[in-house]
Amino acid sequence: MLEFIQHIINGLSTGSIYALIALGYTMVFGVLQLINFAHSDVFMLGAFISFYFSTYFRLASHPSAFALVAALLSAMVGCAAIGYIIERFAYRPLRGAPRINLLITAIGVSLFLEYSGQQVFGSSPQFYPQIFKPEINLGVGSLSINPLQVVVLSISIVLMLILQFVIFKTRVGRAMRAVSFNHDLASLMGIPTNKIISLTFMLGSALAGAAGVLVGLVYPKIDPLMGVVLGLKCFVSAVLGGIGSILGAVVGSITLGISEEFLVGYGNPSYRDALAFGILIVILLFKPSGLFGENRIEKV
């Protein structure tokens, strides 16, 4: 029984990390109908930006919540800037082009970031400095709960709520939804569509940056290819939850996290990575819109 509860706790904690990245996928898709494959590499850049930031300011010598916030800010601001640049120079010139061109460009940007990352940061894994060490023991008996992962889970939930608020309660959010509904019509209504799309990218990338810091803290080994498998899994989570849906991304991620955990704990660990893609196939076959997705009627 204890083992079962521990598995649930572990699953929740991996799921919450998936959720942070899946949110970015889902947001960009919601507005642009673009699967931004470079998203997982922006996440990697977030980890490295905060890595250099923390090393430069020696944040690890005084681990504190303040250090965590500073590192988070550095990564979020850095990644937002990178997100803007990617959108401005890779995606915007293709605005009128067929969607497949955008998709291929996204894969290109992703490969570009991965391989220039290996050139710039080196391909050896780096040890991520421990800038935040909560000492509270949350475990009960022999159950263990890593306080860091509680932080990760709460940060993903808070970010999800903020996103939900921004998208459904603010003018910018309304503009985003309008652009998502019909790009051309929105621009006729006086919505600065380019600005809104840039903003969406910056928000999504900032989320990825935050995820980079948190993953670095929980699994202190970062390398330029760290986003590849994680990114694909988060993409699957977003599809599972219904791509475009904020709540769906979080629910999908936690579902995937817990299913993987049970598969590894009680079944065959070799199928861990296969599980995500198995789920993807099943979802695409039986419910392509995902758990919380709305059925869009594609206009021809």
């Binding site: 083992e3 080196g122 040890f127 263990s144 080994k221 955990e261 660990p269 861990r272």
Partner: protein
């Protein structure tokens, strides 16, 4: 604009032509100048096992420096050509092809990882250029051809070492195994450990696996914890082992981890932190050994690189020394003559032990068990074959 483009293309063509002729001319000079012997080295200088490549390279380079300073081999200086495979088997085999066909090396040194050595071996065998692996311990490496040698012990023995150490010194009866299924070395070592440990009366309570590059091992560790083993055998590489140790501590698993020579890296403690303290692994040599030969090697290595050599550096050094020894006696540096000379290696005194290559091109050597204590690895036991 158009003119510029054309000029650019002509420049490019001229450059390519120059490069081609340049290549040819260096080849002729290298054939002409008979006073240089080229030796190729393939290693993971970057990637997740970067310290394997860099340590081995340091060891080899130290040996080359010493040989050249002493006048080379029969008056000929050694030139070491190093290729980085980034830790990828496919890059390793391409590197061998390049070293053999373009650089015309007479022998290949490498790799550390068994998976990569196995990718390189068929190429070496095909071109009949002898290859010496410093520290690939999977038995299948040298079975790939009669031009493939190694200077380290093999996993059937290394697995036995840890199993005997667990049974006799730690006196544990139940052990969990956590192996890396993507890694030939890890799978082989886990199998041999299991065999000896169960034959000796021990019990493997659970056999779990992961894939190299995973970052979350808590699901496996939670299942392992449920079986209450007295130790966990983790024959992986240091980056994964560091994270595993960290997460085992987090899950409050109080037992020591046991492992093989894949743990041997200064990065192990950096990633694992205090959680890895008190764990044991088998290795090729101990820097605490007081034999004058080892201490002399350590002193020279420290003078050059300002750090204590790890086991892989010592193995790299030995691989080069065994090759040197063979080159001195070989009739010529042709593939076949050199191969025969290496195969005849007998009672050669190397840093990591006395090397006699058997008919399967493997040496028989003792292994040491080291205990992790911060960045130091404390000598714990020697296990004879």
């Amino acid at each position: 604009m158009k003119f510029k483009n054309k000029a650019g293309i002509y420049a490019l063509i001229a450059f390519v032509l120059a490069a081609c002729t340049g290549n040819k001319s260096t080849e002729t000079t290298s054939v002409g100048s008979a006073d240089i012997i080229k030796i190729g080295e393939v290693g993971s200088m970057t990637g997740s096992e970067a310290t394997f490549g860099s340590s081995t390279h340091n060891g080899i380079a130290l040996a080359v420096d010493q040989i050249n300073a002493a006048g080379g081999i029969n008056g000929k200086k050694i030139q070491l050509i190093t290729m980085d495979d980034q830790g990828k088997p496919e890059e390793a085999s391409t590197a061998v092809t390049k070293l053999v066909t373009q650089d015309k090396v007479v022998a290949i040194l490498g790799e550390v990882s068994s998976s990569r050595s196995m990718a390189m071996a068929p190429v070496s065998q095909q071109y009949k250029v002898p290859m010496i692996s410093p520290s690939s311990t999977n038995p299948r490496v040298t079975e790939m051809g009669d031009y493939i040698f190694r200077v380290c012990f093999i996993d059937p023995f290394q697995g036995t070492v840890m199993a005997r150490f667990a049974l006799e010194t730690l006196k544990v009866k139940s052990v969990a195994v956590l192996r890396d299924v993507k890694n030939d070395y890890s799978v082989g070592l886990a199998d041999f450990f299991t065999k000896t440990f169960t034959a000796g009366g021990g019990k493997i309570v659970i056999d779990q696996s992961y894939s190299a590059g995973d970052i979350d091992f808590k699901s496996q560790l939670t299942s392992i914890k449920g079986k209450n083993p007295e130790a966990i055998f983790v024959p992986g590489y240091y980056t994964d082992v560091g994270l595993i140790a960290r997460q085992a501590k987090e899950l409050k698993i109080p037992v020591p981890l046991l492992g093989g020579d894949g743990w041997d890296s200064p990065k192990l403690y950096e990633i694992g932190g205090e959680s890895i303290n008190g764990s044991y692994f088998s290795n090729h040599y101990s820097a605490e050994d007081t034999s004058p030969m080892i201490q002399d090697f350590i002193a020279k290595y420290k003078a050059k690189y300002k750090e204590v050599p790890d086991g892989l550096a010592a193995m790299g050094y030995d691989a080069m020394k065994v090759l040197e020894n063979a080159m001195k006696t070989a009739k010529s540096f042709d593939g076949k003559d050199l191969r025969d000379a290496i195969a005849a290696t007998k009672n050669y005194q190397a840093v990591t032990g006395t090397i006699t290559l058997d008919e399967k091109r493997n040496p028989k050597k003792a292994a040491v068990v080291l205990k992790v204590d911060g960045t130091n690895f404390k000598y714990s036991a020697t296990i004879q074959p």
